[in-house]
Symmetry: C2
Subunit: 220 residues, 2 copies
């Protein structure tokens, strides 16, 4: 499969590397490829991942059969607008971002929150996309390697399109998620629930002093 | 110990019954005791729990050494105002409520949310109280009988006062919570995290078709 991962941060790079290791063709999308390659952090990573290519948002979105939104949540709509709706129509977008709002410092709040979510906002703004919200409730290392956390734990899935969710389930399985660990919450509206888990996640990070944890719904 | 449980709904009654079964003296606080006794649901319950008394908010708060806020979150400040600050000063208030806002129908949203929480609002409005937020992340049957859900799962604690938290830990232990299941998140600000778990809880209830589940933080 050809994947376009939008976003060059640690989340995007971690998912891109995992997809490539599974034999997929992967292009990372960014606003300005030249500027991204000028960042030592990215350039160093690129050197050890020569098989992953880098392109502007529009070119990446055109090349990808499946898209992954790993941009900062406050910039997701701008990035997808730049990607161009013509390159999005009919495609599955796996939204792993959170609408973290750092405008009042740390810990960040969420925007939108409560009566809307980033997942819904993306689906509403780009109705041609088949948005599946998932993986946004954990550290990116756990996303692609769930065995990092011992014992059973869950990954949530929200979205309107059954076929798109089936594709995402298979991808999650290839990442190492057992079928029984994938908890389908329903339509994209349920993304409100998983995005609003982030405030607890941030406080758990502070209380525990690490990020190698994940939620398990006991009794599910 | 003398407990005053504010709120006559299923949450308040469940906690009151459990406290009484543990040998505590329990008074339930309500706005209008006559009106409450006129509700068949409450009257039936009262009949099988004759040891629990019913009183107005002020009388209940005066009698209780420890207070439990089990009112609807939108009415908590009004209830505590009626209870009278003079009856609150220096006391521990165990806040098990959530600021559920049903003004836009079901599922409810939260108000306050994200940049504030009910726990903080109560602590700020009644600085003489020693507020501990806990138990608000699960069905009330599980609050008082955690073994209802098989396997390990967590109850969170938020608050500023170490002594008050110690009292709450002991109470939770008497309810059946093992020490390792009590996860102290830090100050009352962390109540934002646990209150914002409710939107996910509500969607899990819909997806699973029951409420006999609870969150376990795997890797904590």
């Amino acid at each position: 499969m050809r994947y376009a991962v939008l976003g060059t941060g640690i989340v995007g790079r971690t998912v891109a590397a995992r997809l490539e290791s599974l034999g997929h063709r992967v292009v990372i999308g960014t606003r300005d490829p030249g500027a991204t390659l000028g960042r030592p952090e990215y350039a160093d990573w690129q050197e050890v991942h020569p098989g992953v290519s880098l392109a502007g948002f529009a070119e990446a979105a055109r090349d990808g059969e499946v898209l992954v939104n790993a941009t900062g949540g406050q910039f997701s709509i701008a990035a997808l607008t730049e990607a161009d709706a013509a390159h999005l129509d009919g495609k599955v977008l796996i939204d792993i971002a959170n609408p973290l709002d750092f405008s009042a410092g740390f810990p960040p709040g969420l925007d939108p929150v409560d009566d809307d979510s980033l997942g819904e906002l993306i689906q509403r703004t780009f109705p041609g996309l088949r948005v599946v919200k998932t993986l946004n409730t954990m550290n990116c290392q756990i996303m692609v390697d769930p065995a990092r956390v011992a014992g059973e734990h869950h990954v949530f899935v929200s979205g309107e399109d059954a076929e798109a969710k089936k594709l995402v389930r298979e991808l999650l399985h290839s990442f190492g998620w057992p079928q029984e660990s994938v908890l389908d919450l329903g339509g994209i509206e349920t993304a409100r629930g998983t995005e609003m888990l982030l405030p607890l996640w941030l406080r758990l990070m502070s209380a525990l002093g690490h990020t190698d944890f994940n939620v398990h719904i006991q009794g599910a």
